[in-house]
Every structure is written in structure tokens, then in C-alpha cells.
């Protein structure tokens, strides 16, 4: 997607350069609805959101002035500024309290694009309400068009947030309205969308395709169960979403850091919801590495050795980290793991190495002749030989691989395995 150079340089801050995706958190609720604890305790929450690894944080101007220092450092979340205001949460239809209820829906622009640049923003976000009547939509489009023009001039990305609300929106037409609104926003000049989930993968896929710009799915009201929020993310990603802008599901979570980290694991880490929630894995699985994510911290090796050997060394770990060599231009680290390829099992003459019925590599020390044929057969050199001559093998920690659990970078993940290899 082409865009003016300034927008591109600022967009780079928001989207992860490896996968082009972004995990954002909306923390602008104090600007439009009653101050709930997530508003009052915003400083603490935002610090946790940063720790969780968010790529962007949507805040008001006041929060930018007050807490923007938390966002220093080019690897910290990009600052997204809310450039308008509305009173929808106070109209009575939502689940938030209303100290001072509103009757007539109002939405106003509250800044110019340049204002956001001064405080260090990487993008601005504005609403586009559709379905509340023709005149109200006209006002929304008029403001959107003005912001789009300003944003092009100053090189600041514009994120439009289409919202289908009002008497003309029903369960029947809401998906179609959202699909249309995404494209309309793109046509007016949005560089990305923040948009509600349509409810199913198929319609959201259509929305993403027809918009033609990165689509960030929003979370809406806080889900009762974290799994519901993660499933929404998972489906949106399947539909081609570029990431998320979750608000209350993060800021009202018991542990905002973990919630963000979990969403990151889904969006960037290639993990499954089951991985993340440490749920019992159904069926067989194997390890998979994502070298781009590896930072060479060796936490996986420490976790491996600790779980098997009770120590903190790295010389008996079941996985290795290859460090960059001179000539390696990208300077990447490469984690190397047992992929359950089965070559060791095949090479073992005395049948000491087998894959158990539960899908884990198993060594029968009685049968083992200490011949080292398994280590020689391993294409990845991850089978070491211990002092007594026995092979050190990965048993997937009997179904709960500690390397996966402890890798904060999602450089080691699990993937389902339809069929086990070799002899059982």
C-alpha cells in the first residue's frame, strides 16, 4: 500500500516490521464516559500495557501530556491520539454508568491533525458513525474528510473507526453495513481501520478484502471470559485482520500485562489459544520455531534444563540457540528444536527410542546400547549424549513443553501434528 512518506515512516512505528501486524490498546475511555477504575488508575495500567508488548496505545491529548513519557523509545508502543469526542456511552444503551445522561447523540472534532504531531503521535483515530441517520453520517464524513486532507499534508496516518449504531442498524444488516463502512472510510482517506468484528470469519474476510487497508479489530465491551476475547482475535486474524485495538478487555483485565502479552502471542507469536491458556493440548503436537522472534535470551534452554535436570545450566538442554556468525547479514538467532521427525527412532537398532502412544519421544534405558546412532541421525543435532553415553532427548515435557511456556518472544511454539512418524 502506497502512502505519503511521512505517513509511512510513522506507520512503521505502529506495525511490526516482521509480520506487518499490530496489537493496540484503546485507553481513551475517560474522555467520553464515566470514570471507572481503569480510567482513574490509567498510569499503572498503561505501564503494564507497555510491559505486555503493545504496538500502539490510543489516548486523549490530556493523557499524552500527562503520561506520554511512558511511550519513550522507538520500540515502545506508538502513540495514537483520539482527535474527536462523542457522548454515545452516555445515551443509556451501553453497560456503563451515566452520572450525567445524554439524550441527543453528539460527535465533534476536537483538534486538527497537526496538534497531534506536536505531542509525538504516530497516528490519529476518529469515529465514523453510520446508521444513525443521514444528517449525522454527513457530519461524520465531513469531519473525516477534513482530517484526511490535513493528515496527508502533515504526513500523519489516519485511523478511522466505523461504528454501526442507531435505529437503522439491525442484526440482519450490521455485517453488510460494517463491510460498506470500511470501504467508505478507505475511500475518504483512512490509512487503517479500527472496526468491530462482524461476527463471523466469512463476512470479516470480505470486510478486510474490500477495505484494502490494514484492519484492526476492536474488542468492545469487556468479555466475561478471556477466551472469548482471544477467540474474537483469532477469527479476525483468520479473516486477514492486521491486528487489534482492544480497550476494556485489556484495561479492565485483572492482569493487563498478561492480556496484552496473550493477544501478542496470538497476533505475532503464531501461538494458538490453547497454547496461551495452557489448556490441555488435544491430539498430537510438535514444536516449531519462529527465528525472527528469537532474541537469544536462552530462557528456553534454562527452562528445559531446569525441568529435566533441576539445574540452571544450558549444556543438557533439549534445544539449541544458534548465534549469528560473521557474514550473517541479518544477524538473527536461530532456535533449533526436536521436530518429532522420527529419524532417531528409525536409526535406533535396539528399539530403545520410541514414540509413545501419547506422542512423546521415549528412551528405554534398559535396551539402550549407548551407540549414539540416534544423535548421528538427528538432522538438527539436538540430541546430545550424556556422561554415561545415553542420549538426551526432548520428551515435550510429557505434553507441557516448558520452552514454549517460558519463551516470552514466541520464538518456540507448538503446532498440531496429524500423524506421528515412524514406529510406535
Amino acid at each position: 500500500m502506497e502512502m505519503t512518506s511521512g505517513k509511512r515512516a510513522r506507520f512503521n512505528r505502529l506495525f511490526n516490521p516482521v509480520d506487518g501486524r499490530a496489537v493496540c490498546v484503546a485507553a481513551d475511555h475517560g474522555w467520553m464516559s464515566d470514570p471507572t477504575p481503569n480510567v482513574v488508575e490509567l498510569e499503572r495500567i498503561l505501564k503494564q500495557v507497555v510491559e505486555g508488548g503493545a504496538d500502539g496505545i490510543l489516548i486523549s491529548f490530556g493523557t499524552a501530556l500527562r503520561l506520554g513519557h511512558i511511550l519513550r523509545g522507538k520500540n515502545s508502543p506508538a502513540m495514537l491520539i483520539r482527535a474527536d469526542w462523542m457522548n454515545m456511552p452516555r445515551l443509556g444503551g451501553s453497560n456503563v454508568s451515566n452520572v450525567l445522561p445524554a439524550v441527543n447523540f453528539k460527535k465533534i472534532a476536537t483538534s486538527f491533525a497537526t496538534d497531534a504531531l506536536l505531542v509525538g503521535a504516530s497516528a490519529i483515530t476518529i469515529y465514523y458513525f453510520i446508521g444513525y441517520g443521514d444528517e449525522f453520517e454527513r457530519i461524520n464524513l465531513e469531519q473525516a474528510a477534513l482530517f484526511a486532507r490535513q493528515c496527508r499534508q502533515v504526513g500523519l496516518p489516519l485511523i478511522i473507526e466505523p461504528m454501526a449504531v442507531g435505529g437503522m442498524v439491525t442484526g440482519v444488516n450490521i455485517a453488510e453495513i460494517l463491510i460498506a463502512s470500511g470501504r467508505i472510510a478507505a475511500e475518504i482517506g483512512a490509512d487503517a481501520l479500527k472496526i468491530p468484528y462482524t461476527g463471523d470469519v466469512k463476512t470479516f474476510k470480505t470486510l478486510v478484502e474490500q477495505a484494502g487497508i490494514p484492519v484492526l479489530v476492536l474488542g468492545g465491551a469487556k468479555s466475561d471470559v478471556p477466551r472469548d476475547a482471544l477467540e474474537l482475535v483469532d477469527e479476525a486474524l483468520q479473516a486477514g485482520a492486521a491486528g487489534t485495538v482492544f480497550g476494556r478487555n485489556v484495561t479492565k483485565a485483572k492482569d493487563p500485562r498478561k492480556m496484552v502479552a496473550d493477544i501478542c502471542a496470538l497476533v505475532h507469536g503464531g501461538k494458538t489459544i490453547s497454547n496461551i491458556l495452557n489448556e490441555k493440548r488435544d491430539g498430537f503436537f510438535r514444536l516449531k520455531t519462529i527465528p525472527e522472534n528469537c532474541i537469544g535470551c536462552r530462557l528456553c534452554q534454562i527452562a528445559c534444563e531446569r525441568s529435566h535436570e533441576k539445574g540452571y545450566g544450558q549444556n543438557k538442554s533439549r534445544l539449541q540457540i544458534k548465534f549469528p556468525e560473521i557474514g550473517d547479514e541479518l544477524c538473527n538467532f536461530k532456535p533449533v528444536v526436536c521436530t518429532l521427525c522420527g529419524k532417531c527412532v528409525k536409526a535406533c537398532q535396539p528399539n530403545a527410542l520410541t514414540i509413545s502412544a501419547t506422542g512423546h519421544l521415549t528412551l528405554d534405558r534398559e535396551k539402550c546400547t549407548n551407540c549414539s546412532d540416534c544423535a548421528i541421525a538427528c538432522p538438527f543435532d539436538v540430541i546430545l549424549i550424556d556422561d554415561e553415553g545415553f542420549p538426551i532427548i526432548c520428551d515435550l515435557c510429557q505434553g507441557d513443553p516448558q520452552c514454549v511456556k517460558w519463551c516470552k518472544q514466541n520464538a518456540v511454539v507448538t503446532v498440531p501434528l496429524k500423524k506421528l512418524p515412524g514406529r510406535l
Binding site: F61, A64, W85, V99, L100, N104, F105, I108, T110
Partner: protein, 262 residues
């Protein structure tokens, strides 16, 4: 190096850099109901309290015509009010308001050229949705205008509309404070309220909060409010009707600054 020195210097005209406190007097009701008792002769009245008040909320006309009394050493710093409303024209006024109106009467640049240490405008809560939206839009654009000038913006939260009553008064103050903090105000003025509300708002805000008093307080009353975390107080215009207001202001200044004389 990443310090906004202009804003810091101007802010310290009003909120003392040493103790983080300030005593402010509002004189601007005269633009709504004409000269107030004791303020008929503006200059004479101001001279009497000028040394023992940190900031004076004044209208642009008075800022222009009485500049020699304002700003700098041993004088109150000028906080220029940029908006106007007829909301305070009640039954006691010769021409009570029939429909509430509010408008901006000047802008940040004008206030700047008049030598303002800060500007102030009101967030009038409890009226209709149109009124509220326009009010928020005006204040937002004013905040954006003040920012690159490093000119501090105070927002005066007034819960005066028909939608605010005893049932939601205290919570309305919290809502208004939240909105205005997020809007980007540099300082807030909140109505006099329960000490618990005051304490809650002051602990939450990371900007100075002043409490607008309904009556000129005694030193003891003021002390109680300051202990709830406020950065200071805004004394009402009715102050000037008191016969011994210079001494009263002097005593309150002494109380706010914890024993320091003007």
C-alpha cells in the same frame, strides 16, 4: 532539556514553585451582571489584595486597562477569562436569563499579547447535549491553541445546569474532572464539594486542582480543604462586599502558604 520552560515559568506565577500552592480571586462575574459590590472601582479594590493573592481571574478588558496593577513582583498574576455566559443571571438580577448561553469572547493569542500568565474558560455541566458538545469543542480547540504557546490553560468546572442536582453533584465533578484532564487542561478549578470528593479528584489528577469556594472561608475552613490535597482555592467575587476583605485575604494567603506572608 525536554522541559516546557515557558509553561513552567508562567505556571509558577500562579502556583508557587516552592510550595505548590496558590490563592486565586475571581473578579469576572462583573462581565455578566455588571459591577459587583466592592468592585465598583476595580483598581482601588485590586490594590488592596494585590500583594496577598497569587492569581487574579480577570476579563480581557480589565487586563488591558489595568495592566500596571498586574503581574510580576508583589502583584497578582493575570489569569484571563476567555469565555462568557449568562448562566449566573438568576432571579436576583434585573434581567434574569431565560435561555442559557455561552460563548468565547477572546482567544489564546489575544490573552498572550495582554501579558496573561494563564487563561481560563468554563466547562458548564448539566445543560443540553448540544450545549455540552459545543462547550467541549470550544475548550478542546482552546487547549490545542494554548499548547504551542506554552500558555497554561485552567478549566473552571461549573456544575450549574438543570441536569445536576444533589443526587449526582459529587459524581458530576468527577466526570467533569476526567473529561477535562483528558482534554489536556493544565489545571482545574472544581466547585466546593465533599472533602472526600475533593480528596479523590486531587489524588487522581496529575495537574493542580483549585477549589472554588461559595463563601469567603475562615482560615480553618481553608486549612481543611488544603489538607484534602487541593493546590489552592478560588475566592468568590462576593469577597469584595466584606468590609475587611484585605485582611481576610491576607490571612488566607498566610494559611495557604503555611505561614508565609505576602
Amino acid at each position: 532539556m525536554n522541559f516546557d520552560v515557558g509553561k513552567a515559568v508562567r505556571m509558577s506565577d500562579i502556583i508557587d514553585a516552592a510550595d505548590g500552592r496558590g490563592l486565586i480571586i475571581d473578579t469576572t462575574l462583573s462581565s455578566v451582571v455588571g459591577a459587583l459590590p466592592g468592585l465598583e472601582d476595580f483598581a482601588t479594590a485590586i490594590v488592596k489584595i494585590n500583594q496577598s493573592c497569587d492569581g487574579l481571574i480577570i476579563n480581557p478588558g480589565q487586563a488591558e486597562h489595568h495592566a500596571s496593577l498586574l503581574g510580576g513582583k508583589h502583584r497578582a498574576a493575570p489569569i484571563i477569562r476567555l469565555d462568557w455566559t449568562n448562566a449566573y443571571r438568576d432571579e436576583t438580577f434585573c434581567l434574569p436569563a431565560t435561555e442559557v448561553k455561552r460563548l468565547m469572547i477572546s482567544n489564546a493569542e489575544d490573552a498572550f499579547s495582554l501579558g496573561a500568565s494563564a487563561v481560563v474558560a468554563s466547562f458548564l455541566m448539566g445543560y443540553g447535549d448540544d450545549f455540552e458538545a459545543t462547550n467541549i469543542q470550544d475548550l478542546s480547540f482552546l487547549a490545542r491553541e494554548c499548547y504551542p504557546l506554552s500558555l497554561p490553560l485552567w478549566i473552571d468546572i461549573r456544575t450549574v445546569g438543570e441536569k445536576v442536582s444533589e443526587i449526582n453533584f459529587e459524581e458530576s465533578i468527577k466526570l467533569g474532572a476526567s473529561f477535562m484532564q483528558e482534554l489536556g487542561a493544565d489545571g482545574l478549578i472544581i466547585p466546593q464539594c465533599l472533602l472526600a470528593t475533593c480528596r479523590y479528584v486531587c489524588e487522581w489528577m496529575q495537574i493542580p486542582v483549585l477549589v472554588r469556594l461559595k463563601q469567603t472561608p475562615t482560615a480553618e475552613q481553608l486549612s481543611e480543604i488544603m489538607h484534602s490535597g487541593a493546590a489552592g482555592a478560588v475566592l468568590p467575587e462576593s469577597l469584595f462586599a466584606l468590609s475587611d476583605y484585605p485582611q481576610q485575604v491576607n490571612e488566607l494567603y498566610f494559611e495557604i502558604h503555611q505561614g508565609r506572608r505576602a
